[in-house]
């Protein structure tokens, strides 16, 4: 009941309600969960690199609502995180940047049913002074324009391939980076003239790069699923963190960062 309420309540009440439900649900079913009923404990969250800013903020909110609780994050490419989970990393919550990476975890029965909590679209990121004068996707095919893409194995790379295919363009990048933040860094440092990254990463760069939207981005929208792990050491706390992400408050944080509601 409380959780359902909190999903629709706004801002501060949501925190309070979550706090209460933390107390109320007292005895978590997982035997490894901390004994303290006040929600003391640790939640380990594996999240896609593109969630670094928003989840860090939500983690602080969660800690404030559950005194004594710490939220530990491991941000990286979703594919790497999925592999680490498959290798038995002790994780409570997994938030991936694509259903495909989440599927590798759920297929192995390592996590419960995932819920989609956000969507993200691609943008062309260019350095502030835009040295190669890029203004649409077709400009990236120019051999003189240095382009960085994510590797196809990671979600932002898969999305980039999809968008370029949809546009019928063939781009030869100079590098295929391991995750979206690494790709963005290459633009921030001015080492490449353009890159395909998420809209949220452009916003997170706080003006260090310029984002250019393009119509084919609609063909490559990434859904972000989140799930608690079957063997979550934190038990109920893990569920509560997922509830926070799915709540209106969580959505507000994500929207502010440029994510779209699912």
């Amino acid at each position: 009941m409380f959780r359902r309420l909190s999903r629709w309540a706004v801002a501060l009440p949501a925190v309070l309600v979550l706090g209460l439900s933390g107390c109320g649900s007292g005895g978590p079913d997982a035997s490894t969960a901390p004994a303290a009923g006040a929600g003391a404990g640790e939640v380990t969250v594996f999240a896609a690199a593109s969630l670094t800013g928003t989840f860090t903020e939500l983690g602080r909110t969660f800690e404030a609502a559950h005194p004594g609780t710490t939220v530990k994050f491991n941000f990286g490419s979703s594919a790497t995180l999925a592999q680490q989970i498959a290798q038995g990393a002790p994780v409570d919550v997994f938030a991936a940047a694509s259903p495909a990476t989440m599927k590798t975890v759920t297929d192995a029965s390592l996590a419960g049913a995932p819920a989609t909590f956000a969507r993200n679209t691609l943008q062309i990121a260019v350095p502030k002074d835009n040295p190669a004068k890029v203004d649409d996707l077709a400009d990236l095919t120019d051999a003189k324009v240095k382009v960085a893409l994510c590797a196809e194995q990671v979600p932002c790379g898969a999305a980039a391939v999809k968008a370029l295919d949809a546009a019928g363009l063939k781009v030869t990048p100079v590098t295929l980076e391991q995750d979206v933040k690494a790709t963005l860094t290459k633009v921030e440092l001015g080492e490449v003239d353009a890159a395909l990254v998420y809209r949220t990463d452009v916003i997170a760069s706080a003006g260090k790069v310029t984002g250019i939207g393009f119509p084919e981005a609609d063909k490559a929208i990434n859904d972000y699923p989140i799930a608690t792990l079957a063997k979550a050491p934190a038990g109920d706390l893990a569920e509560q963190f997922v509830d926070l992400v799915l709540s209106q408050q969580g959505r507000d944080v994500l929207t502010k960062a440029g994510f779209e509601a699912p």
Partner: protein
């Protein structure tokens, strides 16, 4: 010239220093377990992870995985880059080691500390530092592009630069150690007989420290071959130009751990074979 010719073949260290030169067979008696036990533990610690790789390797599909062009491409790139990087390290590192060991100058201790910085620096940080200096907007990189139209990031040359940066300290340290261990009286003798400092270095010093140089070069090559962090940060990751074996392993780990294991086994096998054959030919023979 003729005089230095006489000195070269002499096997120096032993006779002249007067230090005892124990051969392995001299000490006998039971092996002390205080040494043996930790030694065996240490060995197990180093060897077990390798055994893990070998046990988990998908042997039946190994040949066909190996024949895939991208594997050979990455392997070739790794070997070429590590070898060129080692050559570059030899050209720059041996003189640097000589400078540190043979020339008194103010701030020498500081310089020596600076030389070892890449050893303690996380390689990714080294990669970022290289970008800031040699990148397209870097201090020197900017000038390189404006003057010669050369940019290093995302090129094979960039891989070599990154590997040389990380691996050179290994060479410098081991050559400097060899120089300090070498008996300077041979050099002094050559100098009193009229040899210039360059001739002394070339005809006396270098032959004396050859084993140290080879050992350093081998270490340097091995470090360059395994280089990952600085390479992916500075040179990027693109098949055929900058994707070396360690990068290919990392990428394969994202989706196909089995392929990553295969690549690791290949890298392991190639490096062990090369290091072992070098060791037999050079290091122990000297």
């Amino acid at each position: 010239m003729a005089t230095t010719e006489h000195i070269r073949p002499v096997k120096p260290r032993r006779g002249f220093t007067g230090r005892p030169s124990p051969s392995p067979g001299r000490l006998s008696g039971r092996l002390p377990w205080m040494l043996l036990l930790p030694a065996l533990l240490g060995l197990a610690f180093l060897v077990l992870p390798l055994a893990g790789l070998l046990i988990r390797a998908p042997w039946p599909t190994l040949p066909q995985r190996l024949a895939e062009p991208h594997v050979l491409e990455a392997l070739r790139l790794s070997l070429v880059c590590a070898t060129v990087a080692t050559a570059a390290c030899l050209l720059l590192g041996v003189p640097l080691a000589w400078l540190l060991a043979r020339v008194e100058f103010p701030g020498r201790r500081l310089v020596r500390a600076l030389v070892t910085v890449p050893l303690v620096l996380p390689p990714v940080v080294g990669g970022v530092a290289l970008l800031l200096v040699l990148g397209r907007r870097g201090l020197i990189g900017q000038w390189l592009e404006a003057t010669f139209g050369v940019t290093l990031p995302f090129t094979t040359a960039g891989v070599i630069v990154a590997e040389a940066f990380v691996a050179m300290p290994f060479l410098v340290i081991s050559v400097e150690g060899a120089l300090r261990g070498a008996d300077r009286r041979f050099e002094e003798a050559a100098a009193t007989l009229g040899a210039s400092r360059w001739t002394v270095f070339r005809r006396v010093t270098l032959p004396m420290i050859a084993p140290g140089v080879v050992a350093g070069a081998v270490l340097c090559w091995a470090r360059a071959l395994g280089e990952f962090g600085a390479t992916i940060t500075f040179a990027g990751n693109f098949p055929g130009t900058t994707r070396t074996m360690p990068l290919a392993v990392y990428l394969a780990l994202e989706t196909e751990p089995e392929a990553a294991i295969v690549l690791s086994v290949v890298l392991l096998a190639v490096s062990v074979v090369i290091l072992a054959s070098l060791r037999d030919r050079w290091v122990s023979a000297s």
